[in-house]
Amino acid sequence: MFGAWRRLALAIGLPLALAGSGPAAAQGANISIACGALGMELTLCREAAQRWARQTGNRVSIVNTPNSSSDRFSLFVQLLSSQSADIDVLQIDVVWSGMLASHLADLEGDLGPRVDAMFPALARNNRVKDKLVAVPWFIDAGVLFYRKDLLAKYGFEPPQTWDELTRIAAAIQNAEREAGNDRMWGYVFQGKAYEGLTCNVLEWVSSYGGGTFLSTDREITAQNPQARAALSRAASWIGTITPQGVLNYDEEASRGVFQTGNAVFMRNWPYAWALAQGEDSPVRDKVGVIALPHGPEGESAAALGGWQLAVSRYSRHREEAIDLVRYLTSAQVQKERAIRGAYNPTLTALYEDEEVIEANPFFATLYPSFENAVPRPARQAGARYNQVSDAIWRASYGVLKGDRTPRSALERLTDELDRIAYRARWR
């Protein structure tokens, strides 16, 4: 009996021991990179990384990461805090720079000049405590999509303010519904309780002149009349020009509604343009893109987004890893990604490149949005950004759902930010 168990144990133990050791390194370094989870993003990354490997005689392996960005963040945090060398190059969100800074290699000496040729907001975002922690790879900013055909049909100009948007959306929605289009809605956005809602809320509040909840010197500014007005405005949309279901919408869900022709306006990231213009899209050639509206006293604000490449401080092949980042963020690769995948380059010069603009005419329209994008309070929150953002979206979600008034939600947000400040010893 026992002999049998022992044989079984050996049979199990042997492959395990092998699984632990892994293949021995051949010539050149083996750089593992975590970029994108699937689809075009993964394909473009893999092709470019392999090209680099062929040119330099190194090898690359692509590490599969979860598609959900919060899962991906958890993974990176665990990996980096265990000082593991399992991943050399990581693709990180703009808001992660401050949170992961202590685990990332300083790229200033190698890639500082290149980052200076990129959008200034992005460059600022990545210099944490005088260290360049990541190189921006592609940029995003919230924009307003609208149905050109519908606005023209009812004689409206694209809205400049949220009040105008509300009026136009209601008017067109009612008119279309009377004409038999039962499923028409005025405005869709990302209202699910997640990071995307923080972006939307920041755009509303900031464009009303209500600040960014946490000022640059870490003062808690959540509770102010403009912020309350912005949240009241947003809450008034639910059930009138926006479906109740928006409380569970992420980017894709809202795009689904807009692209099937069932919404007049949509807030989304630029990626939705290429898809709305796709061959089988019902709204092809009927879509316009402009900057997001603003409040009565504020200016349009677009949340700054995008992804960047960083090198792990624990990488055993730092030189090669930095070289891979240098290659992937070069004008040549960024241009290829812009043309093939409509990824918005971070190098400002590429917005004057004829081939790029020819492939993506809307890039020119987007340029001002990128230039004036409002960063989420990631820089001031540093390692605490996830907590801050979580508090922001939970407070706003309560308002959208109708559980709380803007005043009480912002009171609670102030209280939670105060708790975060206490734990982080900001004061």
Partner: protein, 307 residues
């Protein structure tokens, strides 16, 4: 038996030797980590740099500074998670107990195919929790889920219901899935107890014409109470630390966040090892407390039976 029989002596010597490997492993996987968690809960450690931190005493639990209270015991989100956990545990365990007993009674009735039924009961229990969470999330999907389709087809609802988000149904949905998955566990334990009961009692009750419901409450229930008590404590312990079902089905949605999900969020997503450890230790304390209260509540019951 005499205290120094050769058998006793031989056994006594080897007892600790035989226990040593198991105790060593448990010390490594349980005692040390728990000790570390309690230690970290007294510090302000973060994942940003785990090697440097300060002792802050009980600051992560409760602290008073500048005229206001801090710490998990005053954190509205933690209190909400505590409330959710208690609601989840109380409702799901009660439902599982009542339904489990009912199912056990049905199966115990002499019907053809009793073995088949017992097999069917084992199926939900055998499916990995993550898998059942995914299956139910798919069935409850607001756009394409079969549950909405069936309700719509039967004319019970007018539009799709967002079971897992944007409504107050998320907690109810999660409880329903847990009930589906673990009622069979309770039922199996009760069934085993039922099958040890002497048939004569029931024969006598039937002859006397006592109503079956009365028979259940006056005869069956007292007899299966010990088995039921054990099943309930096992379920209660599991329910109090519920993690995977909630994590997979609704993520960190505040309406369904349990203490385990809160603790993991603080530890991993927020990188706040000190605070997260305090939340974990708090959960540990609460579970210990619930267990003690439960055992105390059962004690008079057991003594009553003996007298």
């Amino acid at each position: 038996m005499s205290a120094a029989s050769p058998l006793e002596r031989s056994r006594g010597r080897s007892a600790w030797l035989f226990l040593a490997p198991m105790l060593l492993v448990l010390a490594l996987v349980a005692a040390w980590p728990l000790g570390r968690t309690i230690w970290f809960s007294l510090t302000n450690a973060t994942l940003v740099d785990l090697s440097s931190y300060d002792m802050i005493g009980l600051g992560n639990y409760l602290a008073y500074e500048d005229g206001r209270w801090y710490g998990i015991f005053t954190d509205p989100q933690w209190l909400r998670a505590l409330w959710n956990t208690l609601v989840f545990a109380a409702v799901s365990v009660s439902l599982e107990t009542v339904l489990g007993v009912m199912i056990a009674l049905i199966v115990n009735a002499n019907l053809p195919g009793r073995g088949l039924m017992r097999a069917a009961m084992l199926v939900p229990w055998a499916i990995p929790t993550v898998v059942s969470a995914k299956i139910w999330a798919w069935m409850l999907n607001d756009q394409f889920g079969i549950v909405n389709a069936m309700l719509f087809g039967a004319g019970l609802v007018e539009g799709p219901i967002a079971w897992l988000g944007g409504s107050d149904l998320a907690m109810a949905s999660i409880i329903a899935v847990d009930v589906w998955k673990t009622t069979p566990f309770v039922a199996l334990l009760v069934l085993a107890a039922l099958q040890t009961l002497p048939r004569e009692i029931y024969e006598a009750a039937r002859v006397d014409g006592i109503h079956p419901v009365r028979v259940f409450f006056q005869v069956t229930l007292p007899l299966i109470k010990p088995a039921l008590a054990v099943a309930v404590i096992f379920r209660l312990l599991d329910a109090m630390r519920m993690f995977d079902l909630v994590y997979v089905m609704t993520g960190s949605n505040e309406e369904t966040m349990t203490l385990s999900v809160f603790a993991r969020q603080a530890l991993v997503s927020f990188q706040d090892v000190g605070y997260g450890s305090a939340a974990s230790s708090g959960l540990f304390l609460i579970i210990a407390l619930v267990t003690v209260i439960y055992i105390m509540a059962l004690k008079p019951l057991g003594e009553g039976r003996q007298s």
